[in-house]
């Protein structure tokens, strides 16, 4: 697992997002089309792809793509 493939997977979920727009330091709440529904989508993506459980509470504590990646990586190990 590396952050680039992680970002690619995330980008696919955002329909209106151009590929390559998302950076490790992007605050995912600042993505134009962000809404609370994306929290569900991200939780489902991480669960299906990595078999890692991220909760709503976890998401509320983090802001950037890098922090999300670090959390998933930590739980994978």
């Amino acid at each position: 697992m590396d952050i680039n493939t992680f970002i690619e997977k995330l980008e696919v979920e955002f329909e209106e997002l151009e590929q390559g727009t998302l950076k490790p330091d992007t605050n995912f709440r600042n993505i134009d089309e962000w809404s609370s529904m994306y929290a569900l989508i991200i939780i489902a993506l991480i669960d299906t792809e990595y078999e890692v459980v991220v909760t709503g509470e976890d998401l509320s504590k983090i802001e950037t793509v890098q922090e999300l990646y670090d959390l998933v990586k930590l739980r994978l190990n």
Partner: protein, 351 residues
Amino acid sequence: MAFSAIHNVAIRGISAAVPKTIESNWEYPFLSESEKKLLIKTTGVEFRRRAEKGMATSDLCYEAAKKLIDELGWSPSEIDALIFVSQSSDYYLPATAIILQDRLGLPTSCMALDVGLGCSGYVYGLSVLSSILSATGLKKALLMAGDVSSATCSFEDKSTYPLFGDAGTVTALEFDDSAQSMTFELNSDGSGYEAIIIPHGGVRNLATKASFDKKEISPGIQRADLNLALNGLDVFNFSVTKVPKSINAFLAKTNTSPDNYDYFLMHQANLLMNETIRKKTKFDKEQVPYSIQQYGNTSSASIPLTIVAELRDRTKEERLNVLMAGFGVGLSWGIASVELAHIKCPKIIEV
């Protein structure tokens, strides 16, 4: 593990009734166009049925029961037991099942009781009523399951109102010593009781004038304490972790695999959630029918409604082995494996 096998009880028929008023999430005013698109794609809910004010779940179940009794050729006087599974009863008391006994012209020798469960309610109700028939030798019984959720969701709450639809269903059960056994696994986790809750109006928080005041929780979410509150993320986490685990344990315990089932019928909660569960339990897309696009989340009615909406022709003509999973409010969840063999399954009734 509350794992059990129940013998000598057959499902003879399933019917469903919905209100005739259709609401579309494309016309829900508290979502932007892009939010509507995302909501419909993610939750799967495009249309919902809404009961007119004063129409209760029991009215839908009553119509569904009349039709099913008629198609089965049963006489109301033969029905020994009636269970009404719902979280939208006619009155605080008495129990709605008793009112339905009289309304349907069932004999006073019929036992009637309510079960207060939602999303897991169909699987639970099936287990309770089948156990009674199996243990007592009573012959014929009706299981009613459904909710009028539109009555308790706040219209101005985009996190609940667009998700739920109203429906009532009836399942006819009969003692039959040649029936294939049903198998159940039932679970509860009350630590999550606040995840889906109507906080006021029970005895814990008696309704006061303030219970009716709508408060803004966040933009697009306004509700009172007498309305349903849903913590979507907590329910999502619960559903995609506990439910697949239980299903996989159930398959191991029954020595079966997804190939042994014609269909896997899930409570129609949310398309993304259900698809996540489907992938984790390795069922094929073709094995998992949905009614959520047309009817929304119909609480305890969702599994039988999906059978009537999607499998009607096959259940009438064939023997189908189905796996069922109900999960949600409580938190409560249950898995069942049952056979649907040449059952009566009238078309969905509009009331």
